[in-house]
């Protein structure tokens, strides 16, 4: 794929196919009615916006020649162009999924600074935590490489960083998007050329609601609530076991099943846990319950299992309380 720039047009070209990215606008002379830098720069004797844009596209072609996402960068700048020129306010953009040293992001940053020295494109490190470092609703647009983080929760977290009316630019070189995101992508404008596809989604109220419901914060809160609910059920069961209360035959099995589910829930929240030993504590309690069960089936007269069950349950329930309830 190539980017071709002429005096009046920027386009993508591959195998004889051409996709026009932008054409030089024939603007009327607004110099009499405004002194905003955008227009003054545009008509200044120095470099014009169009010239700078063409130069940026040429830099994509130069620096990202072998990058499979080259076409995506062209499509991104095409979608950003009207937004960046829409008013004279500094724009705060973020980019996620391509790492912090992506040359294309530097080119876009350069173009944004040309338009307004206060504008910034922050390339985020490829970690879910870097998204949480961005204030909610603070970005005018967020560039998101879908192939690196295809999880719906991560996409929703990204949307939550965008201000109302802002743009989410999801780009990919894969043929299909994850099934969980198909509905969201269907609402977006789709630009496609060769293997490169860009989904441009305006963040409106419906999109924001979807993101709030499916983002990692909602996920964590829902999981945390499931864990505490299970812990409550377990606490009652374990207390009954320790008090030698008559229990149904399958009570032990139920306790172990709940603990197994709890372990899995805890592991799914692992990145967010303050106490990273919590899943192991759940496993230790499961082991203690099973040991008591084995002792019940094949008694060897040892009290060690009951003591261990007491210890393990105290350790687990205290840790759950500290993690989720204090």
């Amino acid at each position: 794929m190539r980017i071709i720039t002429t005096d009046t047009c920027v386009s993508l070209e591959e195998d004889g196919q051409v996709f026009t990215l932008l054409e030089k606008p024939a603007l009327p002379d607004y110099s009499n009615i405004t002194k905003r830098p955008y227009f003054s720069v545009y008509y200044s004797e120095g470099e014009t916006v169009w010239e700078r844009l063409s130069c940026s596209m040429a830099k994509f072609a130069d620096f990202c020649r072998d990058d499979p996402y080259l076409g995506c960068y062209g499509l991104i700048l095409r979608r950003l162009y009207p937004m960046l020129l829409s008013d004279n306010r500094a724009k705060n953009l973020a980019a996620y999924g391509a790492g912090t040293d992506c040359m294309a992001y530097r080119v876009i940053q350069d173009f944004m600074t040309f338009l307004h020295t206060g504008s910034a494109l922050t390339a985020l490190a490829p970690s879910p935590f870097s998204l949480t470092a961005v204030s909610p609703g603070s970005c005018a647009a967020l560039l998101y490489r879908l192939d690196t983080f295809p999880a719906p929760a991560a996409v929703c977290d990204a949307i939550n960083r965008i201000k109302s009316g802002g743009l989410l630019l999801l780009y990919t070189v894969k043929e299909t998007v994850p099934a969980d995101l198909a509905a969201l992508c269907a609402k977006a404008k789709k630009d496609s050329f060769g293997p490169c596809t860009l989904y441009s989604l305006t963040v409106d109220e419906a999109v924001m609601d979807f993101a709030h419901e499916n983002g990692s914060e909602a996920f964590v809160l829902a999981r945390a609530s499931e864990i505490t609910r299970r812990a409550d059920d377990l606490q009652n069961l374990v207390q009954a076991m320790l008090a030698d209360t008559a229990l149904p035959d399958d009570a032990w099995f139920i306790a172990v099943t709940i603990l197994q589910q709890t372990e899995e829930l805890l592991l799914s929240l692992y990145d967010y846990l303050e106490n990273d030993e919590l899943p192991v504590h759940a496993n230790a309690l499961k082991e203690a319950v099973l040991n008591c069960y084995v002792e019940m089936c094949r008694p060897c007269g040892l009290t060690a299992f009951r003591d261990k069950l007491t210890q393990s349950s105290e350790l687990f329930f205290t840790a759950v309380e500290q993690e989720f309830l204090t």
């Binding site: 592991l267 082991e287 089936c297």
Partner: protein
């Protein structure tokens, strides 16, 4: 409760001596507890006299003309319906195809992988390899042999890993039932391949030498196991350097007769494990402990588990710290009350947490849970 058709397939051809070790004993005890049948599928490496201890086992020899694992995959392809529970030993690349073949034929079947690893090995698993990750996903139950490693693997793999230590199958040790503390002597015993880097045997010699002048009563040091030529030379030099100690240090050589070895366990009050590293708790530890020996160990991964965090034994953490090991050794030798009390404590502890029959009981519930989950999905 359901009875399972069980099968154990080693990653490389099985040797006779391995029949009575964890890789076979745990599956076999599971078979005794909740198995319909039990087969060991391997290429043969010779005679298997120890099979006589494993009544009911179906030993299936794989053809020799193919590589071992290739033959094992062929076997599983043709006999998947005869396997409800597949036992694998070690997270080895060789198993990847086997596990995948089994799972594709028997999605309702259960694979149990006993890791037999230590932290160094666990850190070297090729998690970046997609096939290896799939292999781990194919394994329904994974267990490791130490709690320290369990905690490590939870953080590294983000999946449940059970703690199932290397244990003891008591019917193999009828002599351990009638051992009395009164029969014991002032004997420090170690068992292993003496002189190998891993077993760190010289450290024990020097620790004993440091403790020796402070001992109020004579204590014998008995070192059992095959001896490397290097260690033999070091030992000879040591005896010349410290002539008063020489009569108290005994190299027995390798003892193949288990009954003879058990006599040493019966007599020893202290079992010393000076190792630099072990893959889980070594079998010799379990054997010594059920005979009521108090264990002094270096800080191998399993040290806290073997000693119940220092309650039923002592830990000298640094395997290069001769003085530290010697100090602990001396302290044990000078505390006959603790040794007498601990004779009972460590045996109870072993009975509770290292008895394969109990461990298999726990494994049974885990298998039931997985089996249920598989059937539902």
């Amino acid at each position: 409760m359901k009875k399972y058709k069980m099968c154990m397939i080693p990653a490389s051809p099985l040797e006779n001596v391995q029949l009575l070790k964890d890789r076979v004993l745990l599956p076999y005890v599971c078979y005794r507890l909740f198995g319909e049948s039990f087969s060991i599928v391997t290429q043969s490496t010779g005679d298997y006299p120890y099979l006589s201890y494993l009544e009911g086992t179906d030993f299936i020899s794989l053809p020799e003309e193919q590589p071992h694992m290739e033959a094992a995959v062929s076997y599983v392809s043709g006999h998947s319906q005869d396997i409800d529970l597949l036992f694998l030993f070690g997270a080895r690349g060789e198993y990847m195809e086997l596990a995948h073949t089994y799972k594709s034929l028997r999605p309702d079947g259960v694979i149990y992988l006993k890791l037999d690893t230590n932290i160094d090995w666990a850190n070297a698993y090729p998690l970046h390899d997609q096939n290896f990750s799939v292999f781990l996903e194919d394994c329904d139950i994974i267990s490791c042999e130490t709690r320290k490693l369990q905690s490590f693997l939870y953080k590294k793999w983000l999946r449940p890993v059970e703690y199932i230590p290397n244990g003891v199958w008591y019917p193999l040790y009828p002599e351990a039932g009638d051992v009395q503390f009164a029969d014991k002597e002032n004997m420090i015993l170690t068992v292993g391949r003496l002189g190998t880097a891993q077993k760190n045997s010289m450290m024990l010699l020097y620790a004993y030498a440091l403790a020796f002048p402070s001992l109020k009563e004579p204590w014998e040091l008995v070192m059992t196991g095959s001896v490397t030529p290097e260690f033999q030379a070091e030992y000879d030099r040591f005896c010349k350097e410290f002539p008063p100690l020489a009569p108290h240090i005994h190299l027995t050589g390798h003892i193949s007769d288990k009954q003879t070895l058990y006599q040493y366990y019966k007599k020893a009050r202290i079992f010393a494990l000076p190792s630099r590293g072990e893959g889980g708790s070594p079998n010799v530890f379990s054997e010594a402990a059920i005979f009521g020996c108090t264990v002094l160990t270096t800080g191998v991964d399993a040290a806290p588990d073997m000693t119940d965090n220092g309650r039923v034994g002592r830990i000298s953490p640094d395997p290069e710290d001769v003085k530290g090991f010697s100090k602990e050794l001396l302290s044990l030798c000078q505390d006959p009350d603790y040794l007498a009390r601990n004779f009972h404590e460590i045996r109870s502890y072993m009975r509770a947490y290292f008895d394969y029959e109990r461990l298999a009981g726990r494994l049974r519930s885990l298998v039931e849970l997985q089996s249920l989950k598989r059937r539902r999905s």
